[in-house]
Structures are given as C-alpha cells and as structure tokens.
C-alpha cells in the first residue's frame, strides 16, 4: 500500500513541478465553465423554469458538474497509451507493482490537486457571481451521491485504461481519446442535463454508461430522482463497471501477447 501512496505523492509533486501548465489548465476549465454558466443564466431567468429546472437547480447542476469533473474526470490514464507505445511498459512488467493500481494511484494524485484548485475556483466564482445554489441536507441522499461518485470514478478509470490499451495496436492513442472527450462533454451531462433531450434519446442514453459519469450523481444530489430510480441507476453503474473491468482484463491479456516492447 505504501508504494501506491508514494505514487500519489509523486504525482502531486510532479504537478507542482510543472505548475504553470497546471494553472493554465485550471484557468481554461474556468473559461469553459463560464460559457455554460452564463448561457443557462440567460435561458432561465429568476422565478421561471425550463425543462423542469429552476434557475437555482440548473446553476447548482452546472457548478456541481464542474466540481465533479475534477473528482471523476481528472486522470493520468491518458499517459498509458504512450507508455505502451514507447516501450516503458516493460519496466512495469518486471517491477513488483500492479500496472493498473499504479495508474489508479496516479489518478488519485491528479484528482487531489484538481479538487484543491476546483474548490478555490468555485468558491471565488460563488462569491463573485452569487448564484442561488441548492444545498442538499438529506444525509441518505448525500450518502447515495457519494456511492454513485465512487463507482463513476472507477468507471472513468476503466474507460481511460481501455483507451490506453489502444497503444498495443496503434500509435494513435490521442484520436480515440478526443472522440471520448466529446462524447463525455455531451452525453455525460457536462454541457446540459441529459433529461432536456427528447424523451426517446434520453431513455436510450440511460442504457449507456456515459450519463452515470456526471449526470446521474448530480441528479441524485439535487433530489430529482426517486429511490427506485436511484437504486436502478446505481445497479446499472455497478453492472457497467463489472463489464468494463472484464473487458479491460481481456484486452490487457491480448495486448500483452501482442506487445513487442517496441521503442526500447
């Protein structure tokens, strides 16, 4: 366990070494957030409703997804593909360390730094913009939100790892990640809640894993889902997590058979 703690610490220190890049990255996320925030602020004036959302609920949704992005989507697994491509994987294969635990520890280090910055940025934005936020007080709902977030973190890591596995077969590890990011942007609920889509489309996406990354946890927090929806949603997330981990194991074993340590 200690070795993975050291990986978390190393990742944190690594970010601090290249702090200008990280700060610029955080500034960029704030700019992205501002566009979505002001767009919804214009669309839902105070006292009115749109798609079943009051201004308070929608702005909480938008700021909530911005925070959850740091918790769930912050990752280092994008380096996995390059790691395989340039042959650095060989070093891991002879070390007494689990390759996936190592990258998950890197993810935690990265998330810790992103969360720290997100808390500061969002606090500043809340002070400046004074949005009418919604605060959930029901402890059970908060607990279920936390469970959903935990599985979303694991699921996103599995997605990141699967995309990294492309490195076994192709040097183009960035292009699929680019598409994945666009899908997340639209279908995980970063730009808008999925339930504003036409009913048939929204229902279709409930069967895919994407809404469970951001949309579902924040919907639980907002108290807009009844208990049966919450339990079915959490079960679906768990099911997807199991499916993705089985698939990842298969791809990993196949990839290892294909791996030639090219680059070393």
């Amino acid at each position: 366990m200690r070795k993975y703690w050291l990986v978390i610490k190393d990742t944190w220190d690594e970010i601090l070494t290249y702090r200008l890049s990280f700060i610029v990255w955080r500034i960029r996320t704030v700019f992205q957030l501002l566009t979505v925030y002001f767009l919804w602020l214009v669309l839902i004036p105070q006292g009115s409703q749109l798609f079943g959302y009051t201004q308070s609920l929608m702005l909480t949704y938008i700021l909530g997804t911005a925070f959850l992005s740091s918790v769930i989507l912050a990752t280092r697994s994008y380096e996995m593909g390059e790691n395989i491509n340039n042959g650095d994987l060989s070093i891991f294969l002879i070390r007494p360390i689990n390759y996936f635990y190592y990258w998950f520890a890197r993810d935690i280090g990265d998330k810790a730094m992103n969360i720290s910055f997100a808390v500061i940025e969002l606090s500043i934005l809340v002070v400046i913009l004074k949005p009418p936020l919604f605060f959930q007080h029901d402890m059970m709902i908060l607990f279920l939100t936390a469970i959903s977030i935990t599985f979303s973190i694991i699921m996103h890591f599995l997605f990141g790892s699967l995309l990294g596995m492309i490195g076994f077969w192709s040097p183009d590890v960035w292009a699929p990640r680019f598409i994945f990011f666009i899908i997340i942007n639209f279908f995980a609920g970063m730009l808008f809640p999925i339930d504003i889509l036409p009913k048939a489309v929204a229902t279709f996406f409930q069967f895919t894993p994407f809404p469970y990354l951001l949309y579902f946890p924040i919907k639980i927090y907002l108290g807009q889902l009844n208990s049966s929806h919450i339990y079915v949603g959490i079960l679906t997330t768990i099911l997807w997590t199991i499916l993705l981990s089985v698939f990842l194991k298969m791809v990993w074993l196949r990839g290892l058979r294909f791996y030639t340590a090219q680059g070393h």
């Binding site: 700019f31 992205q32 566009t35 767009l39 192709s170 040097p171 666009i182 942007n185 639209f186 730009l191």
Partner: protein, 260 residues
C-alpha cells in the same frame, strides 16, 4: 508573392501527407470534429425549440453566430497549424535552420503547413453561414460588406494572437499553454457576447477581444452594431497586429539558439 504561395502549397501538401499517414487517426479526428460541431448545433436547436430565443436572438440568428464563430475559429486553425509545432523547432534548434532559409521566418513559422483536417469544419461552417443567412431574412448589401470586412478584421486579430504565441515561444520555449488558452478563450464566442453579464461582457469585449472577433461580424450583418463599435473593431485589429509584429521582432532579436 507567387513564390510564397508555391512554398505554402508545397508545405501544406507535405503536412497533409503526414496527417493521412495514419488513416485511422485522421478519420477519428475528423469524426470527432464533425461530431462536436453537430452536437452543439443540436443543443442550440433543443434549447431554442423550447425558449424560441436566446438573449433576444432568434434561432437562426443564434445559429448564424455559431456558424460565424466556427468560420473564424476554423480559418486560423486551417492556415496557422504550424504554430502548434513551433515549440519543437525552438527546443530542438530547428528554428536555426528556418532562420537560414531565404524566406521570412515569420511566414514559415505561421504558414508552414496547413491542416487539411480542418478544411471539413471550414466548409461546414461556410455552409451553415449560408443557410442561416437566408433564414435570418433580407439583409442589405452594405451589411454583407461590413460582415466580410469584420471577418477579415477577426482574421487579422487571430493572426496577431498567433504571432504573440510565436514570440512567447521564442522567449519562454512554451507554446502549448498559450495556444490552448487562446483556443479556450475563443470558444467562449460560440454564443453571442450578450449572453455574458457585466463585468464579464466588457472584459470579453475590450480586454480579451473575443466579442470583437466572434460576435461583432455577425452583429454587423444583422444591422445591430453601431458605427462606433465598427470603428473600435478595426482600430483594435490594426493595433493588435502592429504590436504583435513588434513583439515578434523583439523576441527574434533575443533568440539565443540555445538548443542547437
């Protein structure tokens, strides 16, 4: 001029061949770009399907703003892609070789290989500009001329930002952060600047002139931009270009060729 056109053509042909070296990557990137373009458009239609307008603009006006944004965004992306590769030239010392060439180093650093993949978005944006233009209603010819002038002005501003990035690249050897920051700032122009509340609106218009670049041309076409703002736009464009060229020369004199 013809010599430079020929050089641009040769470099762009070479860059295109590199882009299609891996067809898998090229196709995936292309699909991604089209998907992003299309999904945001769908998002606009879903919202306006319910609200009928955004910030007092009709559906097609909002689509026109979005199409204009894509046009202004895609043109520099297509022509000035070489700027994204500039850091490598500085870090590896390849820039020395560029300096020794009998062509302008600024031209080579800016236009040394256009990105063929961005041509798709450029064409899509032009198509959407055309469609939304006809849906907005009858537009006087002078507004169309003003629109074209302000699009050119936006191009000059985009060019100036890229020259600034190159200058910073020489002085600090970092390019990626500045160019990505520029990309994200301009992305704020996907929606008309009127969406932002004060003081953000003033900041995004006059301090970081996204509004002037992305929103003003479309507003001029719709006939809702005052003469005063048109004048401010043109002066800002000329000033930015002048200062960026000055900054490039300033940076070039300090190029230490440390990596070679």
């Amino acid at each position: 001029m013809r010599r430079y056109l020929r050089i641009w053509w040769l470099l762009t042909s070479a860059a295109s061949q590199i882009a299609f070296q891996s067809r898998f990557g090229a196709v995936i990137f292309l699909i991604g770009k089209i998907l992003r373009f299309g999904l945001f458009l769908v998002f606009i239609f879903i919202i306006t399907g319910r609200t009928k307008e955004i910030a007092e603009y009709s559906v097609w006006q909002i689509v026109f703003f979005f199409a204009t944004f894509n046009l202004i965004d895609a043109l520099p992306m297509f022509f000035l892609r070489e700027v994204y590769r500039f850091r490598i030239y500085i870090v590896k010392g390849t820039f020395d070789y560029i300096l020794a060439m009998p062509i302008s180093p600024l031209f080579r650093a800016l236009l040394g290989g256009s990105d063929i993949l961005d041509l798709t978005i450029l064409l899509l944006a032009l198509f959407l500009v055309g469609i939304s233009f006809f849906h907005i209603g009858p537009i006087p010819m002078e507004n169309v001329i003003l629109y074209i002038i302000l699009i050119c002005n936006a191009m000059v501003m985009a060019l100036s930002f890229h020259i600034f990035v190159l200058g910073m690249g020489i002085l600090t050897t970092t390019v990626d952060n500045a160019i990505m920051l520029y990309r994200d700032l301009t992305q704020m122009g996907r929606v008309p600047i009127d969406v932002y509340r004060e003081p953000f609106r003033a900041i995004f218009t006059f301090v970081i002139p996204i509004g002037i670049m992305m929103t003003f041309p479309a507003k001029a076409l719709m006939g809702i931009l005052s003469l005063q703002f048109i004048f401010i736009s043109l002066v800002t464009g000329i000033l930015l270009f002048g200062v960026s060229v000055w900054f490039w020369r300033f940076a070039l004199k300090r190029y230490a060729s440390a990596s070679s």
